[in-house]
């Protein structure tokens, strides 16, 4: 018990330190320097981490193999964008349609409450994005959650495709702008404090903070009684049912919560990108998230986070040189041209899948490894005696 408390405190201290570090870095790094990429990939990996953990909640902890993540992210992204485009910008965005929505949360709340209201409006739009995804998940859960493993996977994958088509339908154009992108909504770079001449940029910090809150909530869920029930379902459905766990209800809860955070992740991805367009949320996006989950280890939250960081950092930054002719000491413009980065990257992923099947973390969390390392190096502590019972 005591051990757990120190563990929690260490985690919280670590996260606070990380957040502070990001605030400082954000002020030091100039947007034109090469290190500016660090901030960009940090933001993107934080967002991917949220979605990866949400997918892990289903695939790794509840044993429901769902491949619909991209569809739910799409709903979150669209909902967020639709409710944050300022009124003045709407005519330019909905160029081909008579827009049906005129409501912008940040604007409405911002006018009433100033910058706090603006923030509140943004938050509300993000949460609404998650709620829309969760509500849709609730409805499609009725038919889909009764299916077994692969069938569930393919049905959710198909469902994501249906959603993508629906959002591009011209008849819904007045709301979704059809196949055209949504833009000019509130983006991450709006998060800053302006004091006279100096601006304190907070976009990376905000992203990281949101991501931390989302992942924190999911971790709390996983460690709660409901989280244990999810794991029981993953282990053995028949036994779980015999222990009084209502399969359908618990699957539904896991599915809705996972989709809620996928929606929130989608909304954050919208804030990160310049535009939202249904065609960017193809099944490939789901597969990328799945690969992150596998890379980190199925059933490990910290694994998913590490996986997301490695995936995004490698794909978007470290391996960049592979596309432009020069990487580390290798200089071969003929081979190292556009697309080579992704080839190397996918070969790397295949190696992990085939030879490191359990991923980076297996199904253990970071503290487990921290403890093992500590145990290895600090052997002669008097505490060793207590261990026998633990």
């Amino acid at each position: 018990m005591e051990n757990k408390k120190t563990q929690n405190i260490t985690t919280v201290v670590g996260i606070v330190f990380l957040l502070l570090l990001v605030i400082v870095l954000e002020q030091i790094i100039s947007p034109t320097s090469t290190m500016a990429m660090l901030l960009t990939v940090t933001k993107k990996s934080a967002i991917y981490a949220v979605v990866a953990v949400s997918m892990n909640l289903l695939n790794g902890f509840t044993g429901l193999f769902s491949l619909g993540q991209a569809g739910f992210m799409l709903m979150g992204a669209y909902t967020y964008a639709i409710f944050t485009i300022p009124r003045a910008e709407r005519d330019a965005v909905y160029y081909y349609y008579d827009q049906a929505m005129e409501l912008s949360f940040p604007e409405v709340f911002g006018n009433a409450l100033g910058s706090v209201g603006f923030l509140l409006g943004v938050l509300l739009a993000i949460i609404l994005g998650g709620l829309v995804a969760a509500a849709v998940a609730y409805v499609i859960g009725f038919p889909v959650l009764r299916l077994k493993s692969d069938y569930l996977a393919i049905a959710t994958l198909g469902f994501a495709e249906i959603i993508r088509a629906l959002f591009q339908w011209t008849k819904l154009g007045p709301i979704t702008n059809g196949a055209n992108p949504l833009k000019n909504y509130v983006r991450l770079n709006s998060f800053k404090i302006e004091m006279g001449d100096t601006t304190i940029g907070l976009s990376t910090f905000t992203t990281l903070l949101f991501a931390t809150i989302c992942i924190g909530i999911m971790v709390m869920l996983i460690n709660s009684s409901y989280g244990r029930a999810f794991k029981a379902i993953r282990e053995d459905e028949v036994a779980a049912e015999a222990m009084g766990i209502n399969l359908y209800k618990h699957k539904q809860i896991a599915f809705c919560i996972s989709c809620f955070f996928a929606g929130v992740g989608g909304a954050m991805l919208a804030m990160f990108a310049n535009t939202v367009q249904a065609n960017n949320f193809k099944s490939n996006m789901t597969f990328e998230i799945l690969l992150i989950v596998v890379l980190g280890g199925i059933g490990s939250v910290s694994g998913s986070c590490i996986g997301a960081v490695l995936f995004v950092f490698a794909a978007e930054w470290w391996l960049r040189g592979l596309d432009s002719g020069k990487w580390l000491f290798i200089n071969a413009p003929g081979v190292l041209r556009n697309g080579f980065r992704l080839v190397v990257f996918s070969v790397g992923i295949m190696i992990v899948i085939l030879f490191f099947r359990r991923g980076i973390m297996g199904d253990k969390e970071l503290p487990y490894y921290a403890k093992r390392i500590r145990d290895r190096f600090i052997i002669n502590k008097p505490k060793a005696g207590e261990k026998e019972n633990g």
């Binding site: 049905a155 469902f159 088509a165 799945l290 295949m350």
Partner: protein
């Protein structure tokens, strides 16, 4: 008459594309029947096969009559290699690991194609006899449209004979029924599985020629959609069943094509005053069909019932 004239072209292209889906679907259904694996990479093998043709004919100027057998052989080789490298080592791993491996292979093939083509749309070579324009009941179309269904049916008949009559076919059926027992009975499962992949990719190679003859070009993503639809066709017909896959392929091809033309058909009959832009849903409809069939008959139209023991 107006109705007939509007519907016919859609019907024709539906039957044609349905036959192509059927050919891909067989690969999915046979692999699933034996390994219980959704072979996500199958769609990309289909795409790579098309790219091979493009490069063989356009870049290396191989004569067409040589290029076709060459490309089909290379496709089969690719399918065989994927199984040996990416699936065989995971034979005893959980099913999810193998599925993830399939997704990984799919990702790799797409990225490889992206690298080699530079992401550009490659024009598929014109295959003389198949690409000729002909008229059927007053509707203009390519000859491939008419050839596809017949060729599909012929290939399927050969395949069904192979499965029912030959020794390897019997072994396949045995492995599909019970993996472990057939292993104990002395069946070399690895060669049976390889054979399954060879047949599956062979048909996908043929399907690829037929499919892309009707389409302007090949992109790295070109396999994804037809692949997914072919998989849905396999599920719809009852996964593991070859006739089911064919039935599913044709059903989905025809439905999809009719939905593409639904607006003009409905307008021509007078049900609709103005188009509803339903064509957007031609892809999505496939998945609606999938979810409906999974809910009402999870084993598909011709699939067998499986139950777990408590």
């Amino acid at each position: 008459m107006d109705f007939f004239n509007t519907t016919l072209p859609y019907m024709l292209s539906g039957i044609s594309v349905g036959g192509q889906y059927a050919l891909i679907a067989i690969g999915y259904t046979m692999v699933y029947g034996i390994l219980r694996l959704i072979n996500f990479a199958h769609a990309d093998v289909f795409m790579v096969s098309a790219l091979l043709m493009v490069y063989a004919v356009s870049t290396y100027s191989v004569m067409l009559f040589l290029a076709i057998p060459l490309v089909v052989t290379l496709t089969v080789l690719l399918g065989f290699t994927i199984e040996r490298v990416a699936y065989k080592p995971l034979r005893n791993a959980p099913r999810m690991s193998v599925m993830v491996s399939a997704i990984g292979v799919s990702y790799l093939l797409q990225n490889l194609a992206l690298y080699i083509t530079g992401g550009l749309n490659k024009n598929y070579p014109t295959i003389p006899w198949l690409s000729d324009s002909i008229t059927v009941f007053g509707a203009m179309t390519k000859r491939v449209t008419v050839v596809t269904p017949f060729l599909t049916i012929a290939l399927v008949i050969v395949l069904v004979m192979l499965i029912q009559r030959t020794k390897i076919g019997t072994a396949m059926r045995a492995v599909a029924k019970d993996f472990e027992t057939s292993q104990l009975m002395g069946i070399k499962i690895n060669s049976v599985i390889s054979m399954t992949f060879i047949i599956g990719t062979f048909l996908a190679g043929i399907g690829s020629i037929l499919y892309f003859t009707n389409y302007p070009g090949v992109t790295p993503q070109a396999g994804a959609m037809p692949g997914l639809k072919a998989f849905v066709a396999a599920v719809f017909g009852g996964i593991g069943s070859v006739p089911g896959a064919v039935l599913g392929g044709f059903t989905i091809g025809i439905c999809e094509s009719l939905i593409k033309g639904m607006d003009s058909i409905l307008v021509s009959v007078g049900i609709l005053k103005e188009p509803l832009e339903l064509a957007t849903f031609s892809d999505a409809f496939t998945f609606v069909l999938l979810i409906v069939i999974l809910v009402f008959k999870p084993t598909g139209l011709l699939g067998e019932k499986i139950s777990d023991k408590v």
